[in-house]
């Protein structure tokens, strides 16, 4: 009973905040509603016993991604209302397509039969974290390593597209500073008296 109630609480707040994300005028409010949505989604994960995924959702999405979003939205000087101006003319078309898709999915899910092996319950007595760690480095080691390679490419891409060598910037070169000797740092001039430099 209480579980069902909690589920509906989380689910309704999730849907409400998802709608709010796309309908808020102020983009900062949108991002804040996004964070609320993430929290409720992680609540749903806890309800089905996936506490590891729930924590990851809170830490990675709320802690890193959403905060980054917030920074970008605050720092970029984009007038979002100007961007929205032309968008209203596509609303009827979007609504029609959305309605058709919704009808199709309702039809689809009303007759959905889950295969037997999709609701396997953990039996080994291990926690979520242990279980994920167990298969991540055995059965799924190949896609896991590939994910690392994809992040590597993303890193190269970020550097290629944004790193610029700027001329005229003074940089500190510690090695150069430390290896300076008296000989190449100062020059002693003998100035004859009365002539000036």
């Amino acid at each position: 009973m209480i579980e069902t109630l909690t589920f509906y609480l989380f689910a309704f707040i999730l849907i409400f905040s998802a709608v709010a994300v796309i309908s808020m005028r102020n983009p900062v409010h949108s991002v804040l509603f996004l964070i609320l949505g993430f929290f409720n989604a992680s609540g749903l994960f806890i309800l089905i016993g996936a506490e590891f995924v729930a924590m990851i959702l809170a830490i990675v999405y709320v802690g890193a991604v959403a905060v980054l979003f917030l920074f970008v939205v605050m720092m970029l000087d984009v007038r979002f209302n100007d961007l929205r101006k032309g968008a209203m003319q596509y609303v009827p078309l979007g609504l029609i397509i959305g309605a058709v898709l919704l009808a199709e999915f309702i039809y689809l899910f009303s007759g959905w039969v889950l295969p037997d092996n999709t609701n396997e319950i953990l039996v080994s007595g291990m926690t979520n974290t242990q279980e994920i760690g167990h298969i991540l480095y055995t059965d799924y080691v190949f896609p896991f390593q590939l994910a690392g390679l994809i992040l590597f490419v993303a890193m190269i891409g970020a550097i290629v597209l944004t790193h610029r060598k700027r001329a005229g910037v003074l940089r500190q070169n510690i090695k150069e500073q430390v290896t300076r000797t008296k000989k190449d740092a100062i020059e002693i001039k003998k100035v004859a008296s009365g002539t000036g430099v």
Binding site: L108, T118, T138, F142, I150, F152, V153, I156, G157, L161
Partner: protein
């Protein structure tokens, strides 16, 4: 606990390529005098070494590895050879052009090699998870390559457009995969195939998932109605990168499509042939008619590649092994033709800029007869005029269609190829019969000369023994129907 050290043997080419890309990156990042020519040359050498490794292990190490994540057999090895061949060709023609437009940075070959790794994984994946990861690795590298000329507005626009639409198609793919997993409870190809063959009625969830996946793959091969990114990206990206877009990723996505359709979804051929029928006919029509009004050579080749994808899809529309062989033959010939074509285009430069407007090709036959004649032969071949290779590609495709009694599609294909021939011949007319004083930059590049002459040899002498390629394809494609 299935990881055996033997599994490593199945991914030796991928491992080698990944490690070489990393070494080249380190070399480029730490070398003081920043001469990226060494990295470009090193990349060619390492890609060639990968090719030797691939050919050496062509018939060895057959089977699945890493808990059914990947499967290697001569079919996937054959596709890898095609992909690697186009990557090598593109690398060979890249340096002088990239140097000229000041984008010869050492990350260029590194990203190209990493995208090849992604394509290798795409064609040897045996699970929807590794399929997605391979596809993302490939796409992410290509997004960066498209916008690598970052001071150029067109290139940045191309990269951004490709990225946004590519992310959308990845979303479609994942959505489809979630449907398939929800309906079958499996993500390995074999698991899905087993589930479908054992179930009495096909649940609509599988069909919907398959349609979403097909849409995402159609985006990757730029087939109508998911083609809209292609002309802008082809035009905006640096020409050498466009040459890569037109060749290797298409082969990889086709390889993926073939393995999905003839593997897990083989039982559903009645459903997917209808979709492919429409996609193929629409791609051929758009490729032929939209190409007529183009004045930019890169946009024109984008529409031409959409058309070629349509022809190649005819073979798959048959749903038979004969059609599959025809598709592979067509793809191999298309690869060589467009590589040669782009190698020629990269030679046509004026004032350190690649000439892209077709009108400016006037007088090319007088000033640079060699390039003009080579280009004319590639264009004749693309138009499907005998005795060049492109004609035989279309011949096997239409023959396969007629064998599968897809008469209307074959007739439609012939009509659109006649329409398409107009714009290929128009370029030849401009090059040979329009008078103008054209003075081109003279850049010596052994690489592009080698690529043009090899492609020319293939296109011209294919007629001598078409059976040679056909036999190879016959023997490798039979592996698709072997279980295990």
């Amino acid at each position: 606990m299935m990881i055996l050290s033997y599994d490593i043997y199945n991914i030796i080419p991928e491992l080698f390529l990944t490690l070489s890309a990393m070494i080249l990156l380190m070399f480029g990042a730490y070398s003081k005098n920043m001469d990226s020519k060494m990295v470009f040359k090193g990349a060619i050498g390492l890609l060639a070494l990968t090719g030797i490794l691939l050919l050496y292990s062509f018939n060895g190490y057959i089977g699945t590895a890493f808990s059914d994540m990947i499967k290697t057999n001569p079919f996937s090895q054959f596709l890898k050879v095609l992909i690697l061949g186009s990557a090598l060709g593109v690398m060979a023609i890249s340096y002088s052009y990239a140097h000229q437009i000041k984008t010869a940075i050492f990350e260029y070959p590194v990203l190209l090699m990493l995208s090849v790794v992604g394509m290798f994984i795409m064609v040897s994946s045996n699970s929807l998870l590794s399929l997605y990861m391979g596809l993302e690795l490939q796409s992410l590298s290509l997004y960066i390559l498209a916008s690598i000329r970052r001071n150029n507005a067109l290139s940045s626009e191309a990269g951004l457009k490709y990225f946004v639409l590519g992310a959308l198609s990845s979303g479609l793919l994942l959505f489809g995969i979630s449907f398939i997993y929800g309906a079958t409870g499996a993500i390995s190809y074999d698991g899905i195939a087993d589930f479908i063959s054992m179930s009495l009625t096909i649940s609509p969830g599988i069909i919907v998932g398959m349609v979403f996946m097909l849409a995402a793959i159609a985006f990757k091969i730029s087939a109508v109605p998911f083609h809209m990114w292609a002309p802008d990206v082809y035009q905006g990206a640096p020409t050498s990168v466009t040459a890569f877009f037109a060749t290797a990723p298409k082969i990889a996505a086709f390889g993926l499509l073939i393995q999905l359709l003839y593997g897990p979804f083989a039982q559903l051929s009645a459903d997917w042939t209808q979709i492919l029928y429409f996609v193929s006919a629409a791609s051929m029509a758009l490729g032929a008619f939209a190409g007529l009004v183009q004045s930019n050579i890169k946009r024109l080749l984008a529409y031409s590649s959409i058309g070629h994808v349509g022809y190649a899809l005819i073979g798959l529309t048959t749903g038979l092994s004969g059609g599959l062989n025809a598709t592979l033959t067509y793809l191999a010939i298309y690869l060589v033709m467009s590589l040669g074509m782009f190698a020629c285009i990269l030679k046509i430069n004026k004032d350190e800029q690649n000439i892209e407007s077709i009108e400016d090709y006037a007088g090319l036959s007088k000033s640079n007869p060699l390039i003009a004649y080579a280009m004319a032969i590639f264009l004749f071949s693309m138009a499907g005029i005998p005795p060049f290779a492109g004609f035989f590609g279309k011949l096997v495709i239409f023959k396969a269609a007629i064998d599968a009694s897809l008469i209307y599609l074959a007739v439609f294909g012939v009509i659109t190829s006649v329409v398409g021939a107009y714009y290929y011949l128009k370029i030849i007319k401009v090059m040979f019969f329009d008078e103008a004083d054209l003075v081109l930059d003279q850049h010596k590049s052994k690489g592009s000369l080698a690529v043009i002459s090899l492609c020319l040899l293939f296109v011209v002498f294919y007629i001598v023994s078409p059976e040679y390629l056909a036999n190879i394809i016959q023997s490798v494609s039979s592996w698709l129907f072997v279980n295990g």
